[in-house]
């Protein structure tokens, strides 16, 4: 069996990204869609950290730190929007929130 290397980490990262994407596309609950987005961000972080480790420089991990900071801001805004939406419409099911569709 092959020893674990960069390609294995990238494969796990890709699989996690696919799961997050499936979560975004398949689930009807806006909060679950948001959780899928978080999985995507974490898959990107894993790839960045693996590149940083195997490439021998700090940039990947610095970028991953920035992504975590941005994700915190993004989650706060997104959840505020979802709460405001729920107050207006009393639902978080994305299929029912289509007043912009005309």
């Amino acid at each position: 069996m092959m020893h674990v290397g960069l390609i294995h980490y990238l494969a796990v990262s890709g699989a996690l990204f696919a799961l997050g994407l499936a979560c975004i596309v398949l689930r009807r609950n806006a909060l679950l869609v948001f959780m899928g987005l978080e999985m995507n961000l974490n898959a990107a972080n894993l790839a960045l950290v693996a590149f940083s480790r195997y490439g021998g420089h700090a940039d990947g991990q610095v970028l991953a730190t920035f992504i975590i900071a941005i994700a915190a801001a993004e989650v706060a805004i997104g959840l505020a929007i979802i709460v405001a939406l729920f107050r207006q419409r009393s639902t978080v099911v994305t299929d029912l929130l289509r007043s912009l569709r005309g």
């Binding site: 290397g5 890709g14 979560c23 909060l31 999985m39 195997y54 700090a58 929007i81 978080v92």
Partner: protein, 168 residues
């Protein structure tokens, strides 16, 4: 198979299993808790990659703060959830792995040609606090300041969004 490999496979399989459970769990609270668990396993992978600082941040900020906010909102909103995760949408189930596979096919030749995949590097990067934070506060000082502004904007935005509408 070395101990390192065994730990890697344990963490990554557990991570992906938790990811699947997030996707198919009928209960939003359970999904959130599985996501927290998957972040812990991801922190384990970071430790394997010697990214100790990021592993700490992952547990403290992601699992500890962001996901708690998530679960707080899930429990706050009393929504009717649909019991099913599958709505006969074949496009998403096939499309998501397909999109990732397409991306991988596009990127793998580039990676192979650059030699990044050819195993052992001359120098390994240790993700200690000092090694990660020194570039953050020297070379990347401007992005840090911009992130501070973004966080401030996000805070103000959330306060504005969360305000009750005044009744005329």
């Amino acid at each position: 198979m070395t101990a390192y490999d065994a730990i890697f496979w344990f963490f990554s399989l557990a991570l992906l299993l938790c990811g699947v459970l997030v996707l198919i769990s009928p209960n939003a609270v359970a999904s959130g808790l599985y996501l927290v668990l998957s972040f812990f396993f991801l922190a384990g992978l970071y430790v394997l990659l010697q990214a100790f600082f990021l592993a700490l941040i992952q547990v403290l900020v992601y699992a500890g703060a962001i996901m708690v906010l998530f679960l707080f909102v899930v429990m706050l909103l009393d929504f009717q959830e649909s019991r099913r995760w599958w709505h006969g949408n074949l496009l998403g189930l096939v499309g998501a792995p397909l999109a990732v596979a397409a991306l991988a096919t596009a990127l793998l030749p580039v990676l192979k040609q650059s030699g990044a995949l050819a195993a052992i590097p001359e120098q390994w990067f240790e993700g200690t606090l000092e090694n990660v934070m020194t570039p953050v506060f020297t070379r990347y000082l401007l992005p840090v300041e911009i992130i501070a502004l973004i966080l401030l904007a996000a805070t103000i935005g959330v306060v504005v969004l969360g305000r009750k509408e005044k009744q005329p």
